[in-house]
Amino acid sequence: MSAPRHTLDELQRWMQGVITHPEGAAAGIESPSAQEQVGVGASQVEQVVTRSRTLSAIERLDIYNRAYFGRLLECLREEYSVLAFALGEELFDAFAVGYLQTHPSTSYTLGKLGESFPEYLAASRPARDGDTQADWPEFMVDLARLERIVNEVFDGPGSEGRPLLTGERLQEVPADRWPNARLICAPSLRLVELKFPVSEYFGAAHRKETAPVPPARDSFVAVNRQEYRVRRYELTAPQHALLAALLAGESVGSAIERAAALSPAGDDQLAADLSEWFHTWTTAAFFRDVVG
């Protein structure tokens, strides 16, 4: 029995290079990374991979090559279905193919496949097209960031099956303890700072409805999961400052000071606002407990 001409490691590194080449298997065979492992050209590849009765070796390798991009593009389209709808399939796929080349999967889970896609889009976005156009590339980056976080919240840690902070429990806290109290936030609660108010557009695109790209303005969104349903909550700047401080573990007093610094409302109005906000957020399962 003759010894194999190529080690298992050489064959695997070679084949991976061939089937992940964006220009097809023949180009992959000639690529430096493949040649480094198995030094045969496309015309001699049947020394490595046999032909079948109906297909040449390159045609057979191209089945894997097409499937590699087809399969992972489909996964990214699923994960970023809102962004894909907004961009259209052709443009989305162009970005996604570029992303797969610079960020190939290195994990056992497809859950991490798209984790750097928003950053990739931000780094590869086309330049703004003059002053007359809305900065749609930046808008799409915001949309991708929000969609990634919605997906992370969907399957990440949550509060289901565990006790949550109720309005009754909040009212039991004596007024003099509030400034130093700390609220334990739900593990699913995430905050997003965006350059565009994308949440409304996100909802429309999720329903496969077209909507105009809104003008740029600083925007804040809370994303949380309750009974396995993910919801988005648009926030004002004071609300965002307050929740961000609470998530960072600051006391309620300190968090309220951060909100007050950004709020145009007077003390009485702010007190009324705070009462309403905490009622809304408690109902929306933002908090698990109050301590201190």
Partner: protein
């Protein structure tokens, strides 16, 4: 070694898919058992995990993975194995399976089930790794024959021989995917009946059935339709040779409503008790196998990341 490694014949099951979560939780359909894709659940802390816990309370469950990469020359991913173990402690599967394949090398994962060169070096490599994995999982591993589209000039043995020696040397079991036998037999011009005759029948723990795409010059394992009649014929033969084992239908793309998937696997009953090796007379017209023009993608995995129903 007892037949099926001592595992029970669970009957006719289907793959647990996100698209069917709502139906299953509402109807609790009378399916014999579910197979889960392990990677869908090892990290889940959301609704998929919740649904799985509900399902595992009511049905027999088997864990089927796609990322073990048992044939890769990369180091074994022990973090992944620990997560499999933790999931197994939670859902108590009857067995844990994956594929005879590699999914990537040099730290990458193509998320495909890539073919092994079948020779002494690769057999020795896989034997060693199966032993390590079985020690971590504290149970025999069950490995599936994949659909493949290339063969290597360096291969020195047929797949059935590789699998036979692998089971002999490691004690692992086989998940015999009858559709994959058919697909590979078309792609590599071998006789599927000889393949079925030669695999070690007492090591077959489970069958897979699925639809595939006939591209004229080759077949692609697309899991996107009903099982074709030639595959049912092979299934009948495989049942006769093994005495019958747990049977599972995979439907992973263009997924229809749950009752359609369930009805498809129920067709297997037409092939029970047939000892001739020939299919029973079909109760419905047999489907022609016309080539389809297609951009078919093998081993669809998008259902793994789908987050909605």
């Amino acid at each position: 070694m007892p037949p099926r490694l001592g595992h029970p014949d669970l009957g006719l099951g289907v793959g647990l898919r996100t698209a069917h979560f709502g139906h299953i939780l509402r109807e609790w359909p009378a399916v014999d058992w579910f197979e889960i894709i392990s990677e869908n659940f090892v990290d889940s802390q959301g609704r998929p995990a919740y649904v799985l816990d509900q399902v595992a309370e009511r049905y027999p469950v088997v864990m089927h993975g796609v990322s073990l990469s048992i044939g890769s020359t990369d180091p074994i991913n022990f973090e992944y194995l620990e997560k499999l173990s933790a999931l197994a402690r939670r859902v108590k599967p009857h067995w844990i399976s994956d594929h005879l394949c590699w999914t990537g090398v040099a730290g990458r994962n193509t998320h495909d089930l890539l073919p092994m060169p079948l020779n002494e070096e690769s057999l020795s490599h896989v034997v060693e790794r199966v032993g390590i994995v079985q020690n971590v999982l504290e149970r025999p591993l069950v490995l599936e024959n994949p659909s493949t589209y290339v063969t290597f000039a360096d291969s020195t043995m047929p797949e059935w021989e590789f699998l036979s020696r692998l089971t002999e040397e490691t004690g692992c079991g086989l998940l015999l995917d009858v559709n994959n036998v058919y697909v590979s037999s078309v792609n590599h011009d071998f006789d599927p009946i000889e393949y079925l005759n030669r695999v070690p029948h007492d090591r077959v723990v489970q069958f897979h059935l699925a639809g595939h795409t006939n591209c004229g010059t080759h077949c692609i394992d697309t899991h996107d339709g009903p099982v074709i009649d030639p595959v049912w014929d092979l299934y009948a033969r495989a049942r006769r040779l093994t005495g019958g084992v747990s049977t599972l239908l995979e439907w992973d793309a263009s997924i229809p409503a749950f009752p359609v998937v369930h009805a498809e696997v129920q067709k297997a009953k037409q092939y029970f008790g047939d000892c001739s090796g020939r299919a029973s007379p079909a109760a419905e017209p047999r489907r022609a196998v016309a080539p389809r023009s297609t951009k078919a993608v093998s081993n669809p995995v998008a259902f793994i990341v789908a987050d909605s129903e």
